[in-house]
């Protein structure tokens, strides 16, 4: 039922309407052109609406239509491969409808209404279903099997279930109480989708990137923050994560970033190949793009749109990774809307609820048992862009209080051509403890020790470097010179990884373990040799040591490593003989 009211006042994107009795956050359509907006304040019989589009030319007295629904996304087959704006309007459809510029008042369905999907039911008449129960399956893309679920708030007995080709609006199931279910469901973006149970994350997100997996692992279902100063290789890091993480689905939210940069992402992503299946990566990717000059309210919504889509796939039992780039722009959108509402500002003009909103968002990550009994997860990786690189500003600080992993991209390392340029001293992960069980079982019982020792050494190195800068490395005692050399090996052999090398781009845990073990072995043997009187110059110039640097590029890693290690033992044996 449509309830009509009229506009009372227009002041920029904030419009006051009268005559409808909306609920908070209901979506309303404003003016003759039906501009989309959201109710953000109710005062007596008037309501304040934040409009997602430009309001020029809109007059008091124009009609307002209430939808009675909060801002929602359409969930169903067809989400994969889509490129949408912040309120789920497909950019391609917008281009077809209005050309190269986004005009206002155009609505576009989030899901394609024409396309027919082959629906295979998994329930029969008489089955009792409840919210989240799986009704049937649709092969959405080559490797995504889409489970059609009963919407969370619906339950009953199946009266009729169909099979065959349907579009997302056609009824595929009728319950005995007459409830009709199609393949599409709508869900309000600002609230999380219900789950049966939240679980503790116990497995790492395997990314095949040594510095991430080995040093600062994020749990599957965990949260991580990544600051992105310019020239630090953020894009490559994000693409590596998208390509290699062992998640089934990638959701990428471009929130308030530059148009030309977004164009780069939109151009590059479709060309990436999923290395595991050899299929286009887009087949398991959802892209949301809302650039800085697109309406600010839609930017604010984009992050919620993205996470709701991620939750929907999580409910099917998939592991989803979500990247939000950048949450700082999102926070700025909140600041802007808050100032339009003349709310009392908090720190640096950000609204007082900034911290609450950020934590609500990150809390939607996690490992869960969904209503249909499947285990799924969402891993959230949020980019922050602190102004002037100052980490003490409110968005970064509030984010760091919530997330458990921090990958400190460092432009200085990038300038030194150390890639991935993640600083090993300022990064951290709080999941090491929670994941140690998994590591002991799946990687090696001494993994934690190896890792800890390597981190310890790197810490020592930074202290030693200070001395070296003053007095030169020759003035250090020999054992400390050796420590520096081992650290150089950890940095160059282990931490550095070439994203563009066919073998080195992905490094399985087993290989990471063996590499670290080999470096540690060298360290042990070198220390022993040093104690028994061998010259440091000889220890650090062993042929096998240089060969160790190159084994990570070998196709047949195991054989190569074995022969290097055998050679190393021989060489040390000769040294020790003197």
């Amino acid at each position: 039922m449509e309830v009509k009211g009229e506009i009372y006042r227009v002041a920029g994107p904030v419009v006051t309407v009268a005559g409808i009795k909306p609920k908070m956050y209901d979506v309303v359509h404003v003016g003759h052109e039906g501009l989309m907006g959201e109710v953000i304040k109710i005062e007596g019989d008037k309501a304040t609406v934040q409009v997602y589009e430009d309001t020029s030319g809109i007059k008091p007295g124009e009609p307002v239509v209430k939808t009675g629904m909060p801002l929602s996304v359409e969930l169903g087959p067809g989400l994969q491969e889509s490129i949408d704006d912040g309120i789920q309007r497909p950019l391609q459809t917008l281009q077809e409808k209005m050309g190269n510029f986004i005009e206002r008042g155009v609505s576009a369905d989030g899901l394609n209404r024409e396309k027919k999907w082959d629906f295979k039911p998994t329930v029969i008449k008489g089955d009792v279903v409840e919210g989240g129960s799986v009704l049937g399956l649709v092969q959405e893309t080559y490797n995504i099997e889409h489970k059609i679920m009963v919407p969370p708030n619906v339950s009953g007995t199946v009266d009729e279930i169909k099979s065959g080709e349907f579009n997302v609006e056609e009824i595929i199931c009728t319950l005995s109480d007459g409830t009709q279910i199609s393949m599409m469901q709508k869900w309000p973006v600002r609230g999380p989708r219900p789950v049966a149970k939240k679980l503790m994350p116990t497995a790492p997100l395997v990314t095949g990137q040594r510095i991430l997996d080995g040093m600062f692992p994020v749990a599957k279902g965990g949260t991580a923050a990544i600051p992105g100063p310019f020239g630090s290789g953020k894009t490559v890091t994000q693409q590596q994560l998208a390509k290699w993480s062992d998640t089934d689905i990638v959701v990428y939210i471009g929130c308030g970033e530059r148009g030309n940069e977004m164009a780069d992402v939109l151009n590059e992503f479709p060309e990436l190949e999923d290395p595991k299946s050899g299929r286009p990566l887009m087949e398991r990717t959802v892209l949301i793009a809302n650039t800085s000059n697109m309406p600010v309210a839609a930017r604010e919504a984009s992050v919620y749109t993205g996470i709701t889509i991620a939750e929907y796939y999580r409910d099917m039992g998939y592991d989803v990774s979500l990247m939000a780039d950048s949450t700082s722009r999102w926070a700025e959108a909140m600041r802007e809307i808050s100032s339009r509402l003349e709310e009392m500002p908090g720190e640096e003009g950000y609204p007082a609820y900034l911290s609450a909103r950020l934590s609500e968002f990150y809390e939607r990550a996690g490992v869960v048992t969904s209503l249909c009994g499947e285990n799924g997860s969402i891993t959230v990786i949020g980019a922050v862009s602190p102004p002037g690189g100052d980490f003490s500003e409110p968005v970064t600080q509030n984010t760091l209080r919530i997330v458990k992993v921090f990958w400190a991209l460092d432009a200085k390392l990038a300038q030194k051509r150390h890639f991935p340029s993640i600083n090993w001293l300022s990064s951290y992960s709080l999941y090491n403890q929670a994941l140690s069980g998994w590591f002991a079982e799946n990687v090696g019982s001494d993994w934690d020790e190896l890792r800890g020792a390597a981190m310890d050494k790197l810490q020592q190195e930074s202290e030693l470097q200070e001395i070296v800068q003053l007095v030169g490395s020759d003035a250090l005692p020999e054992d400390q010179q050796l420590t520096l050399e081992i650290c150089r090996m950890i940095r160059e052999y282990f931490l550095q990884q070439n994203a563009f090398h066919p073998v080195d781009t992905y490094c399985p845990f087993e290989k990471q373990y063996k590499m670290l073990k080999a470096i540690t072995k060298y360290g042990d043997m070198a220390n022993e040799a040093l104690e028994s009187g061998a010259a440091i110059e000889k220890i650090v110039t062993l042929e096998s040591k240089d060969e160790l640097a190159k084994v990570k590029f070998e196709e047949d890693f195991d054989t190569a490593l074995e022969s290097v290690m055998t050679k190393m033992s021989d060489e040390f044996a000769q040294l020790g003989g003197k």
Partner: protein, 461 residues
């Protein structure tokens, strides 16, 4: 809709409040007939059934409740036509050069719409500005927005003019145009811009919008939008490559703050409105290349940093929207170097997609990295020399120190009319790099050293 209202109830600063009107659209253009027979223009800021708030462009001097207000029924539009080329217009789009009104081919809303990111083409065509510090180390590409961060009393205007004169895509003779928008600059500055345009014949290919320091501040909010609308029209309707020069963004932001204060808005950082990021984005983001269209809009704005402070909200927010910045340095200016561009804090985010084989030259990136590193180290060493003296430096460090001087003297310094091709720029780069021992050129691949290093070329001969 030519009803004239005589119902002004309040006048406050640049705002007038009118009651008992028919419904008026937000953002509508308003004509105000003054009691003395002259007229003014304004724009609707806030409209409700009870009260309409209008911001008057020419200021509210002489206004009282006897003035009549006519609402035009449409938002502010630019009369766009190819005839705009060669014309000088006011900040609100009225002819200032004594010429006739522009016969519109199309009337376009000045606010513009956001470009669909899906329609954008990632910029990658190299633009040669003839200035080594830009072409060599902070390359500009077509469709980029690259502002000059400058300070009061620095020669940013000369740099902008030199770029406007010299910018071209090597090896192409496609149609190009310059759209110049002055916001709150002095009459003197405007005159010198005009004189230069006329002298070099650039005016024929330019559209000029002038809002001078004594013009109303409110008009300044419209001026860049007029200019960008003109630029988009020329680029996307007439396939031209348009270079937009906006000067000075700081004056624009001051006007924005002034308007915010007049509207009694809650101020953000340093009194600037909280929506300044989005407002600036709505200007800067109007640059780019569209898939399937020939034209392009490239923005080169000038921004004077108050107190040379790069963390001030205006440069800070700008830096987050634009694709880099060119920083003009007072220190180099004092040394008498023109153009005093400090390459270290300068940056072009799109540089890598515009350089390399087939665009500039294969060795461009390596050479630029090497010079960057050398100059950065050299400047650090200057600090050290001041403490410990040159004698205590190692031989290697002395080379680097000399390199920094050479870099400023040969690479940065150039004449105001010196138009260096990219080959010239790279040749100079190699000449100064060859002053360093070859073992220190660690960022350059040996194959490029063999091919381009002057010492090797002499050997080959």
């Amino acid at each position: 809709m030519t009803k004239e209202y005589k119902t002004i109830v309040d006048v406050a600063g640049p705002l007038i409040f009118i009651e008992k009107t028919e419904p008026v659209g937000y953002g509508e253009l308003v004509h105000i007939n003054m009691p003395d027979g002259t007229s003014k223009r304004g724009q609707v800021l806030d409209t409700s059934a009870d009260m309409v708030v209008v911001q008057v462009f020419e200021g509210t001097g002489g206004l009282n409740s006897e003035a009549g207000v006519v609402f035009s029924g449409e938002t502010i539009k630019l009369s766009a036509s190819k005839d705009m080329l060669g014309r000088i217009l006011s900040g609100a789009g009225e002819p200032l050069d004594g010429g006739p009104q522009i016969v519109p081919d199309k009337r376009v809303d000045v606010n513009g719409a956001a470009m669909n990111p899906y329609s954008r083409m990632p910029p990658e065509d190299f633009i040669q500005t003839g200035i080594s510090t830009i072409d060599g180390t902070n390359t500009l590409v077509r469709g980029q927005k690259l502002p000059i961060f400058s300070g009061a009393g620095l020669p940013h205007n000369e740099i902008a003019l030199q770029i406007a004169r010299q910018a071209k895509v090597p090896g192409s003779d496609e149609e190009f145009a310059v759209v110049f928008a002055a916001m709150g600059i002095t009459n003197e500055e405007a005159q010198s811009f005009m004189a230069d345009f006329e002298k070099t014949g650039a005016l024929e290919r330019a559209v000029v919008f002038l809002n001078l320091a004594d013009d109303p501040a409110v008009e300044r909010i419209i001026t860049p939008r007029m200019a960008l609308t003109a630029a988009e029209y020329l680029a996307y309707e007439h396939d031209m490559h348009v270079l937009v020069i906006l000067t000075d963004i700081t004056n624009y932001c001051e006007a924005l703050r002034q308007m915010g204060a007049a509207r009694e808005e809650v101020p953000g950082r340093r009194g600037y409105p909280g929506y300044m990021y989005t407002d600036l984005a709505s200007l800067y983001e109007r640059a780019g290349v569209i898939k399937g269209l020939k034209g392009s809009v490239t923005q080169f704005s000038i921004l004077t940093m108050p107190g040379d402070d790069i963390t001030h909200p205006i440069p800070d927010l700008s830096g987050y929207i634009t694709e880099g910045q060119i920083v003009v340095s007072r220190e180099l200016h004092r040394k008498g170097i023109y153009p005093p561009i400090n390459v270290l804090p300068s940056l072009s985010r799109l540089m890598n997609s515009g350089i390399g084989e087939g665009k500039t030259r294969e060795d461009h990136k390596a050479v630029s990295d090497q010079m960057y590193a050398g100059y950065a180290e050299g400047r650090d060493l200057r600090g050290l020399v001041a403490i410990v003296g040159k004698e205590s430096l190692s031989g290697r460090d002395r080379h680097i120190l000399e390199f920094a001087d050479l870099f400023e003297d040969r690479f940065v310094r150039q004449g105001k009319d010196e138009n260096r091709t990219i080959e010239d720029t790279l040749r100079i780069s190699w000449e100064i790099l060859s002053d360093l021992p070859e073992s220190q050129l660690t960022r350059i691949d040996n194959k490029y050293i063999d091919k381009y290093h002057p010492a090797h070329q002499q050997k080959a001969e």
